[in-house]
């Protein structure tokens, strides 16, 4: 069957030169308009099939004069066409990426001999040699693409888009996607939030990992409408119902018609000095703040924030000598007693006043919101944390970092308990994906060393927690974090620096740069990195009713018992 398909495949040219370092040169035998940059092509040579990407098309001529002179004006049409056919040509630059052994021709004696020696199903491997001269080059068909990218199994193998010319489905392995931190990039309007919604929908539907989504703009949970077309955009909550917990930050956060499943209030005692230091820029803290914070934590322990904020400022009383001294409950008095410069302490006290006014930060929360979130995530649900009205940068930085730190600490404990295996009841922690929008605010060069996010990005999957970064300015994200990202999905990016950032640490950057810079402004994306077998530009799937219809169609459920049990939340023994 496969051989039959390949026999019918449309040959577009033949190999004329090139190599692994430089791209392969392919002489095109069809009009150049039939092939585009980024086309996925296959080359058959010597029992191997090579898979590559068209990275460039170059016009050439056997003699420059044939190109210079408009011979079609001098010669009859038929002759001119013949002349052009033989003297003017287009060369494709093809970046070879993968190769797979196919053996001799199917059905021959040689094939059965070869098959006896190679009983295992062949797998594509990274390209290590080149096809011979004059090997035929074909546009990849649906079977080739399925061979490399897999076939949608209505679970973790998820159709993310289609090839641009022929519309063959391109799938992504979501299990692999969440094994390392990943990123979705693109300028505003390039459709990155639709892509993110679809991937999250796929993840939640596949049910192999939980997602914690920091929804800064209230767009993932509730239904909304498209900023371009005004069409209704279904939210995840409406489609997945109980599998999603909508969490509002602070009491009274509303989601239009939907009510929050939970209100998150954060105890003041949960704030650490590191959390505050992270906000140095946002709060415009002085350099001395660190010293003051250290003294506060030393004196008051985890209650430092409430203790400090309850201190008075500027109050004084007279001592027995009639001299004016700071009142005992004042900042100045504490500073004096703790060997801290009173002015530094006062400045910090004043600046932290912005945090005290936050409605979600309270001394003694009535509900254990954070604990409920962790439990929900552990039980396989996903959580969308909406910032509601508290959506300033300060809120975002404080809350995402604080919650993520707590959650990751919990996962770390769970992982260590699991590895220690003291208690046979301890199950493997459920993989967790933390979704952060506007990630450059948390992962820029200044912040990256301090936030929990860069730690998560670096330690990869050690504690079962990975990041999904959604951002429009990847160049603002710290290089070390960027280079740790496994899968990168990028929509159109205008800025040269952003393009370079997305490609950082990847092979074949030169060729991919051109492809990335020429993506359509909408609905096109380039899949890159560790999570995909090879880079490929796609036309992304549409986030519409049909998407949901196909995704939620239960008749196409997982096929094997193992998949079914995993989908029901029973981790198989092989998940280690």
């Amino acid at each position: 069957m496969e051989e039959m398909i390949s026999a019918q495949a449309h040959v577009i040219g033949y190999v004329v030169g090139g190599g692994l370092e430089a791209n392969l040169q392919v002489r095109l035998t069809v009009p150049p308009q039939e092939v585009q940059e980024g086309s996925f092509v296959v080359v058959d040579s010597g029992g191997w099939r090579f898979y590559g990407l068209v990275t460039d098309l170059q016009l050439g001529s056997t003699n420059p004069r044939f190109a210079d002179e408009q011979s079609e004006e001098r010669l009859p049409r038929q002759l001119a066409e013949l002349l052009h056919g033989q003297t003017l040509y287009t060369n494709l630059a093809v970046m070879p990426v993968l190769m797979m052994e196919r053996g001799p021709e199917l059905g021959t004696k040689e094939y059965s001999q070869w098959k006896d020696l190679h009983p295992d199903e062949a797998k594509p491997i990274t390209v290590k040699t080149v096809p011979s001269h004059h090997s035929p080059v074909m546009l990849a068909d649906a079977a080739d693409i399925a061979q490399i990218f897999g076939t949608d199994n209505h679970a973790e193998i998820f159709t993310i888009g289609y090839t641009r010319e022929q519309g063959h489905p391109v799938c992504m392995d979501l299990d692999k996607f969440v094994k390392r931190s990943s990123g979705i990039f693109g300028t505003t309007g390039s459709g990155k939030s639709f892509l993110a919604r679809m991937i999250l929908a796929g993840l939640i539907h596949a049910n192999h990992a939980s997602a914690l989504i920091f929804d800064m703009h209230n767009e993932y949970g509730p239904d909304s409408s498209s900023s371009d077309t005004g069409a209704a955009v279904p939210g995840l909550k409406g489609k997945f119902g109980g599998k999603i917990q909508l969490v509002g930050l602070g009491a009274g956060t509303s989601f239009g018609k939907l009510n929050a499943d939970l209100s998150l209030e954060i105890a003041q005692s949960d704030i650490t000095s590191e959390d505050v230091l992270l906000l140095s820029q946002a709060l415009n803290l002085n350099e001395t703040a660190a010293t003051v914070l250290a003294a506060l934590e030393r004196d008051f322990g985890q209650n430092w924030f409430s203790e400090f904020m309850s201190m008075e400022t500027g109050t004084s009383e007279q001592d027995e000598n009639g001299k004016s001294v700071p009142a005992p409950d004042s900042v100045e008095a504490w500073a004096g007693a703790s060997n801290v410069h009173p002015k530094s302490a006062l400045a910090l006290h004043q600046k932290l006043g912005r945090l005290r006014s936050k409605t979600y930060l309270i001394a003694d929360p009535a509900t254990k919101g954070l604990k409920a979130i962790i439990e929900s995530l552990e039980h396989g649900n996903s959580v969308i944390l909406s910032f509601g009205k508290s959506n300033t940068e300060l809120d975002y930085l404080l809350v995402t970092n604080l919650i993520t730190r707590k959650i990751r600490d919990h996962w770390e404990e769970r992982t260590e308990a699991f590895h220690a295996k003291k208690d046979s009841k301890v199950t493997e922690p459920r993989p967790l994906v933390v979704v952060v929008e506007e990630a450059h605010k948390l992962l820029n060069r200044e912040m990256a060393s301090q936030t929990i996010f860069s730690t998560i990005a670096r330690e990869m999957r050690k504690y079962y927690v990975t990041l999904l970064i959604i951002d429009q300015r990847p160049s603002q994200i710290y290089d070390e974090v960027m280079s740790q990202l496994g899968t990168r999905i990028s929509g159109s990016l205008g800025d040269e620096d952003d393009i370079n950032a997305v490609l950082s640490g990847l092979p074949g950057r030169g060729a991919l740069r051109g492809m990335l810079s020429k993506l359509q402004a909408k609905e096109e994306a380039l899949l890159l990195g560790w999570g995909v077998p090879m880079p490929i530009p796609i036309r992304s799937r549409r986030y519409d009713d049909k998407f949901w219809e196909v995704l939620l169609d239960d008749t196409k459920g997982p096929k094997t018992i193992d998949e079914a049990s995993r989908a029901l939340g029973f981790g198989g023994d092989d998940t280690d």
Binding site: T62, N63, R65, F66, S71, R74, L75, P76, Q78, L79, L82, L83, G85, Q86, T87
Partner: protein, 202 residues
């Protein structure tokens, strides 16, 4: 076509492996034309094929005298046409040979001999010779120096194209043009000369 109906156009004057010259009487100079395929059949059955590359009419002292006279009486001209002692020379470029019913586009093992008869090939034979192989005989023509290669080619292709079209292979001419372009594409001037000449056929 039987041997008798083939058109005899001359007898060999001299020959080597790659060219030969036949002579004919002035009054017979109707059938031979530039680019026409002709052949000499040797006694051992070897058939040597050639293309007419040039036709030469030499002068003699009588002609010179006549030409330098004030007026030439008609009967003198007529007499010169019919009874002239000097033959018209037909230069033939050797392009291949036939042996044991097979056609080869190589040079013959040996040249024809003097006084061997030179026949014009008919359409059927033209199609058979030119339709064999992949236009290999073009190289003998393209090798010619100091001769209007493009004219010989064009004259030949015009005939062969018609013959093949009548024989049901109109694509033969396209293939021939393609082959010429491939052979000449490193020689821009030469190729454009040939193509400009071929353009007149359209």
């Amino acid at each position: 076509m039987s041997e008798e109906t083939k058109i005899l156009i001359g007898k060999l004057l001299r020959a080597d492996n790659h060219t030969f010259v036949a002579g004919c009487r002035t009054k017979d100079l109707v059938a031979p034309a530039l680019g026409a395929l002709c052949k000499v059949r040797l006694e051992d059955g070897l058939e040597i094929y050639g293309l007419i590359g040039n036709i030469v009419i030499n002068d003699d002292s009588l002609v010179r005298q006549l030409v330098s006279g004030i007026s030439i009486p008609t009967e003198y001209t007529e007499d010169n046409r019919h009874n002239r002692n000097l033959p018209v020379e037909i230069n033939v470029v050797c392009v291949g040979f036939g042996q044991d019913g097979k056609i080869y586009h190589r040079l013959p093992p040996r040249p024809p001999l003097s006084l061997d008869a030179l026949y014009l090939c008919d359409d059927e034979e033209l199609v058979r010779f030119t339709g064999t192989g992949r236009y290999g005989y073009f190289r003998h023509i393209l090798r010619l120096e100091d001769q209007p290669v493009e004219e010989i080619l064009t004259a030949h292709l015009a005939r062969a194209r018609q013959a093949h079209a009548r024989g049901g292979r109109p694509d033969w001419y396209t293939g021939a043009c393609k082959e010429l372009i491939v052979l000449l594409r490193d020689d821009y001037e030469g190729l454009m000369n040939v193509l400009n000449a071929l353009a007149e056929l359209e």
